[in-house]
């Protein structure tokens, strides 16, 4: 039984007949290369699900520099296969080798604690120049510090980061402006494994969030001495109805209200989203409903999953996308000149393509280097749906769905580009996590997808045409990536905005470098950074097609 059917018929025939015929070229510009680079394949014996809810929600994958060799490595949060005795499993650190393949770091990597994995957050918590890891589980989460060479040590207890709720997405960000990364953990529900749920036709089915109370999210303040303090209550990050309204699945930390302070957006499953607006002095207020991002345009709650942030309409203000369940739309909220976001889902064209999909991981990227932000979404049902054509004949037949790639036609109008998406849209899986980053170092954004069967797909981007240009910007503060910083580039007479976001999507973490497609511009005039502490700096222009490092304090203060 395979959850994923990744090979087109011609390629299957090739496998069956043996290597006696040349491989047929695959159509499309995102080509799956993970299998040949050492990433875990779909398990053909992946067993039937058991309706144990955590087995259908996991999806953690992170792209980051782990071992100091300058390329992107990968961490994969996993679940024990269903239908086996309830257990735990080791999460895996994959180190990228010089030839582009990935090697399981094994016990030497130090990710030794087993868990029922869900998601992760990645960031340099001690400002020592390397990335640390926070892994969420159904059960106790684990925090690892990095020695700079890709060897991790469990520091959960010493850091005081003890969270035993069912954690999903998490994100690091400096919410109090003290120079150290704080941590927000979205927790899901208080699950009862004994609870049996049925679908509307009375068949056994995975439970939905409404069968349980929400689990409270946690905000942890980084004390700067290797420890964290739980400040959830004193920060006001609590909900009035005994936590009943928090079913956290997605989280992003950046300034969404343009007041110079880092806000926290939380996507909640079947409940209103929260936009925790930073009031200063460590206090937050939820303004999600009033700012138009809490509910859909009809004022109703929906199943909110993953979150993407980017400027899709070119007004230099960050917009939000939240992925959703089938029969609901992936919601696109555009920032406006008023404090209220505009629900632009229908007008954007996205609404035409998502009613029959359940979206989880998502991200904005300029995949063709034409200068605007396109969109990738990975899908997979949580409840039975009519099988899509080509679905494998297994337990998961009614859960697998193709992923989707949308091209921004300008002005936040999107078009589904299945042919261009190639393997990314052709493969069928129950997908959850999506991480974005320039994995192969060629200046464009590649995609890594995590699936329910513990397989990973790496889709190499071969799209940007010759003659198009790009820029990667690494923004640094206090000796680490300035997570949440907003960077605008002036090139060819046009200004574009992109963000240094690791924690976003669903249960995943992205390459924190900011990527710009510059179209035909072989150079750029200037860069401007809105740093997480609210200050702005301008940096001089230069040539395109390279990675630029910007350090806070070295630019011209605005």
């Amino acid at each position: 039984m395979s959850v994923r059917v990744s090979a087109p018929p011609a390629a299957l025939l090739f496998v069956v007949l043996g290597a006696c015929a040349p491989e047929e070229p695959r159509e499309g510009q995102f080509v799956e290369v993970g299998a040949s680079r050492g990433l875990p394949r779909p398990d053909p014996a992946w067993p039937a699900g058991t309706y144990f809810m955590p087995e259908i929600m996991q999806g953690g994958v992170g792209l980051f520099e782990a071992d100091g060799d300058g390329d992107l490595d990968l961490v994969h949060v996993r679940i024990p296969p269903p239908a086996l005795p309830p257990g735990r499993i080791r999460h895996v650190l994959y180190l990228q080798q010089a030839d582009g393949s990935f090697r399981d770091a094994g016990p030497e990597g130090g990710l030794l604690e087993e868990g029922f994995g869900q998601g992760l957050a990645i960031g340099d918590t001690d400002n020592d120049g390397d990335n640390d890891l926070y892994l969420t589980n159904y059960g106790p989460d684990v925090f690892y510090t990095n020695d700079g060479r890709g060897r991790f040590t469990n520091a959960t207890a010493t850091a005081g980061l003890e969270d035993s709720w069912w954690g999903t997405s998490a994100a690091f960000g400096d919410v109090d402006g003290d120079g150290f990364l704080d941590l927000y953990v979205a927790n899901y529900v208080r699950y009862d494994p004994e609870k049996r749920c049925t679908d509307p036709s009375e068949r056994s089915e995975y439970c939905g969030p409404r069968s349980f109370h929400g689990a409270p999210d946690q905000l942890w303040r980084n004390e700067g001495d290797g420890t964290f303090r739980n400040v959830t209550q004193q920060a006001g990050v609590v909900l009035p109805q005994d936590d009943a309204r928090g079913h956290g699945l997605g989280v992003v930390i950046t300034d969404l209200t343009r007041d110079g302070r880092a806000d926290i957006f939380v996507a909640n499953d079947a409940q209103a989203n929260q936009l925790w607006v930073n009031q200063g002095e460590g206090r937050f207020e939820d303004e999600g409903v009033a700012r138009g991002v809490g509910l859909n345009r009809h004022g109703q709650t929906e199943a909110n999953m993953g979150v993407a942030v980017g400027d899709v309409d070119g007004d230099l203000a960050p917009d939000l996308l939240v992925t959703h369940l089938w029969e609901e739309h992936n919601r696109l909220f555009l920032a406006t000149k008023s404090p209220v976001f505009r629900d632009f889902t229908v007008e954007s064209g996205l609404a035409k393509h998502d009613l029959e999909r359940t979206g989880f991981g998502c991200g904005f990227l300029d995949f063709d280097h034409d200068g605007d932000q396109d969109l990738a979404v990975v899908n997979g049902a949580v409840r039975r749906r009519p099988p899509v054509p080509g679905a494998p004949d297994t337990f998961w037949r009614e859960y697998v769905e193709p992923n989707q790639l949308f091209e921004n036609l300008g002005g936040a109008r999107f078009e589904l580009v299945e042919a261009t998406a190639g393997d990314f849209a052709r493969d069928l899986a129950a997908s959850r996590g999506l991480a974005l980053g320039d994995v192969d170092g060629d200046g464009d954004v590649d995609l890594v997808v995590a699936n329910l069967d513990n397989s990973l797909q790496l889709y190499e981007n071969r799209l940007p045409a010759a003659g198009t240009h790009w820029l990667l910007v690494r923004v640094l503060t206090h000796g680490r990536d300035a997570l949440g910083a907003q960077v605008s580039v002036q090139a060819g007479g046009t200004a574009r905005l992109a963000l240094a976001l690791a924690g976003s999507s669903y249960c995943s973490s992205n390459d924190p470098r900011v990527h710009f497609g510059l179209g035909a511009s072989a150079s750029y005039e200037a860069l401007e950074v809105l740093w997480p502490d609210g200050t702005r700096e301008r940096f001089a222009g230069g040539a395109a097609d390279r990675e630029v490092r910007l350090v806070q304090g070295e630019g011209e203060r605005r």
Binding site: S201, S211, A351
Partner: protein
């Protein structure tokens, strides 16, 4: 296997007593996957299919099967059957109207035509204008929706629904002053509709009235999620089958004061699926309201033994202490 055996037996009985043509007709009738579906739901579906196979040119028979699919959420099959019913009986507003409802969530573009045809025969029915207006807003034809929503507001001056939809539509366009007119009118008509308060929170924030925005935002948090209005033209009148449908029917009976019949439906639902929490909770609350609180408490305790959830514990504590259930309690599982 039990399901399969029942299906085979039912099919055999209808095939055995009919001509081959009847069997062929039966086979061509839309049929969703019924594996693991409750036996009484399967039986109800098969009975409606057999009735249709016996009279395949009957619009009512197609409509009855469509209704059966609609109440059990087999929406694609419901839409197919309603389409056939409408072909056979083009004068009825019922088939296109219900077809619209079976399509509105999955395929709203395809719901427009059926709603439009139904509306031509239901010009004075407020909810037909609301349904048509809502589906137009959903597919991005909001400008066309405005006239229908305004007409709905005129036709049913007690309802705040149409004005709320209009208000939220204007909010989505950034037309906050226009939105305010509709939302305040909606609020004057119905002050417990969560969407109205949500819209007002956004309008007041945009207009710089932060305190009013905060107040409406807070109120919205205390209100249960609105469900669709009861619409008799969109609600098939069928003998219920399955715990979910029986629970829904029992609640309707309760609202009509038919407590004994409601109790019967809850119990039948629980007999078919002892783990159906909403059936258990509904029955327990009904018993408590009927002066049989101890029986209700016992019922919830039995449920806790089957599945211990935080919600179930909370509901039990509330029933024991005689306080009202929380808005979150009465939700679909």
């Amino acid at each position: 296997m039990k399901h399969l055996a029942l299906l085979l037996a039912l099919c055999a009985s209808c095939h055995g007593s009919s001509a081959p043509a009847l069997a062929a007709a039966h086979d061509s009738i839309p049929l969703p996957a019924l594996a693991h579906v409750d036996l009484d739901v399967v039986a109800a579906i098969e009975a409606a299919r057999a009735e249709l196979a016996a009279d395949p040119t009957s619009a009512k028979a197609w409509g009855r099967l469509a209704d059966r699919y609609l109440v059990h959420d087999f929406m694609a099959e419901a839409a197919q059957c309603y389409a056939r019913a409408e072909e056979l009986d083009p004068e009825s507003y019922v088939w296109p109207y219900r077809r619209g409802w079976s399509l509105i969530d999955d395929r709203p573009e395809e719901a427009i035509g059926p709603f439009e045809r139904a509306l031509a025969k239901l010009e004075r029915y407020a909810q037909a204008h609301e349904a048509y207006g809502e589906v137009l807003v959903r597919v991005g034809r909001g400008a066309e929706a405005v006239a229908h929503l305004e007409r709905a507001s005129e036709l049913d001056p007690r309802s705040g629904h149409a004005d709320t939809v209009l208000g939220l539509y204007h909010v989505s366009l950034g037309e906050f002053e226009r939105a305010l007119v509709h939302l305040e009118r909606a609020l004057a008509r119905e002050d417990q509709r969560v969407e109205t308060h949500v819209g007002l929170a956004q309008v007041y924030l945009a207009l710089g009235e932060e305190e009013l925005a905060r107040r409406h935002s807070e109120v919205s948090r205390t209100l249960p999620q609105s469900s669709r209005r009861d619409d008799p033209f969109a609600s098939p009148n069928l003998a219920p089958a399955g715990a979910r449908a029986r629970t829904k029917f029992a609640r309707q009976l309760e609202r009509q004061g038919k407590l004994a019949e409601a109790e019967e439906q809850y119990r039948a639902g629980l007999a078919g699926n002892a783990q159906h929490y909403q059936a258990r909770l509904g029955l327990a609350e009904l018993l408590a309201r009927s002066g049989r609180r101890a029986e209700g408490v016992t019922l919830l305790r039995e449920g806790l033994a089957l599945s211990r959830t935080a919600q179930a514990e909370l509901d039990l504590a509330r029933l024991e202490s005689g306080t009202a259930p929380a808005p979150e309690s009465r939700r679909e599982e």
